[in-house]
């Protein structure tokens, strides 16, 4: 039963994909003929008007380009010509650095906020004001103070990943079931041990959910941040290819960004599963 349901879903997915590819293919197909055009205009515009080809590449062209990227992902032929694997590698490294620092700050601070109503009330206005700020708004400030575009990008990732983790950790810690805390109290468990053996495992699913939201946001923001700071990374690659008017590479990059984002998300989904306990 479950198998046939899954098979049906798979078939439907394939059908949707096929429909999309066909529509795309026929919509971007060269229409041929340009007889009625002013020859000067035709010469200026090239293939786009003489053959009726769209500037939008078709699925076959994109597929070919993706294959080229995949078959040679790690070449480095100067600042403007690096393999897609290299570009993605830069982006992932930045995300992991900024995100890693955010974990180191947000989880201990979230613990403190969750355990102390005083700290929670005192810090709440700052969190409420800073949380909705678009991380890119920090970019100029970061560039001015840090004076290094690479570290600035990492800082932007840090600042955007910090909030969901901080809020979720504080929430998870503050909402540990009272009866579990009472168990620790009646067993005279010292505070630090209570934090590690009761509060941490009890809040872990909520904390991991925050971390999962954060990694998603970090991966969204890195593309935009790299478009601004330039140099390397998948965001820079997209912007560079746009400047080259290579829509085919932009589309390929979108696909790779999506795949990497999914991969990062799945890692944390798996980690969340590990710490989730049935009740």
């Amino acid at each position: 039963m479950e198998f046939t349901d899954r098979l049906r879903a798979l078939l439907l997915s394939i059908l949707v994909l096929a429909g999309f590819l066909c529509t795309w293919h026929f919509a971007t197909r060269p229409t041929g003929g340009s007889a009625a055009l002013d020859p000067e205009y035709a010469a200026l515009m090239g293939a786009q008007v003489t053959e009726g080809a769209s500037a939008m590449p078709g699925p076959l062209g994109v597929g070919q380009q993706i294959w080229e990227h995949v078959s040679n992902p790690f070449y480095d032929a100067g600042p403007n010509d690096k393999g897609i694997g290299v570009q993605l590698g830069y982006s992932i490294a930045r995300v992991l650095l900024g995100y890693g620092f955010a974990v180191l700050v947000a989880i201990p601070l979230g613990f403190l906020i969750g355990m102390s109503p005083l700290v929670s009330r005192a810090l709440d206005p700052f969190i409420q004001i800073l949380k909705p700020v678009s991380p890119l708004a920090w970019m100029p400030l970061a560039l001015y103070t840090i004076k290094d575009s690479d570290i600035s990008a990492i800082f932007v990732i840090f600042i955007c990943s910090v909030w969901p983790m901080l809020v979720n950790t504080a929430f998870g810690v503050a909402n540990v079931r009272r009866e579990w805390l009472n168990v620790a109290r009646t067993l005279e468990i010292p505070a630090w041990k209570k934090a590690l053996t009761i509060i941490l495992p009890a809040a872990a699913p909520t904390i991991l959910t925050g971390m999962r939201i954060s990694i998603g946001i970090a991966w969204l923001v890195i593309v935009a941040a790299e478009m601004l700071v330039g140099g390397t990374g998948i965001g820079y690659f997209v912007w560079n290819e746009w400047n080259n008017l290579s829509i085919v590479n932009v589309i390929a990059a979108i696909l790779f960004i999506g795949l990497v984002g999914m991969f990062l998300d799945q890692i944390l989904a798996f980690a969340t599963k590990l710490v989730t306990f049935p009740e």
């Binding site: 009866e179 579990w180 009472n182 168990v183 109290r185 009646t186 067993l187 005279e188 468990i189 053996t197 009761i198 495992p201 009890a202 710490v275 306990f277 049935p278 009740e279």
Partner: protein, 322 residues
Amino acid sequence: MSTILRLVPEEAARPPEKGKPVASRLISIEGIAKRYPRKGGGEVTIFEDLWLPIEKGEFVCIIGHSGCGKTTVLNILAGLDTPDSGVVIVDGKEISGPSLDRAVIFQGHALLPWMTVLGNVAYAVKARNGSWPRAKVRDHARRFIELVGLKGAEDKRPAELSGGMKQRVGIARALSIEPKTLLMDEPFSALDALTRGTLQDEVRRICLETSQTVLMITHDVDEAIYLADKIVLMTNGPEACVAEIVKNTLPRDRARNQLHRLPGYYSLRNHLMDFLVSRSRTFKDELAAGLSWKPRNVPVVEPAETPELSPEDLPRLSAASN
């Protein structure tokens, strides 16, 4: 009322002078009160000037309706709550918080769901005996898991257990730290009747074997009759009080399925039921009508079986019970 209340001589029931321990007295609740701020100003008094002595090795049940503050009394004794006035003396010392000497069996079992059965019990054992090596902690925990009849379920997680098994783990955890007092807050109220029965048997067996001092909260009269040596009757809240302490006169080797055949069972049960049905509500009126009652020295009563009734006895009896 069809029972004669035999009042136990006052000397035996009188609590000692404050702070002066009696040899066998383990716990002495001395004049505790709990008040909560009322919404819109003022205070609600849950109970006031409540006194209760508990001897070593005694099984004491508190019965009363919901909201009378019986759980609050237990929480204060556990150290999880603090009284607004009065003190609790344990072993001659005033308590200031929770202690490993007073283990709590929670109503909702309160197992840690990310740990196995063995993990839950071993966690408590390790808290009690910090210096023990891992193997010794585990052996000790296994012994108590076996004691409550859960051998073979050590590696299961709480979510895989039935309600009764979870509560068994809770009991094993509390017993494994070998506390001086066991505090139970309606431990069986969430269980079905069959499981409740077997668990009561287990608890009675273990407590008799180890002469465990126990304070248990319940609203189940039969549970109290089966388990308790002394049954504390609390009136309805707010401003609840301990109306009486009923001494259980049934033989110590009573069996659950033979209870109703024991002499004195019905008078005891009727007395408790009468209290829960009406007197818990009307006790204030009895006081207002001039009943001699001191919070510090609550009467200890023994409901005794009515002698064979003969018609000429009836008028005398009704006069006596009034």
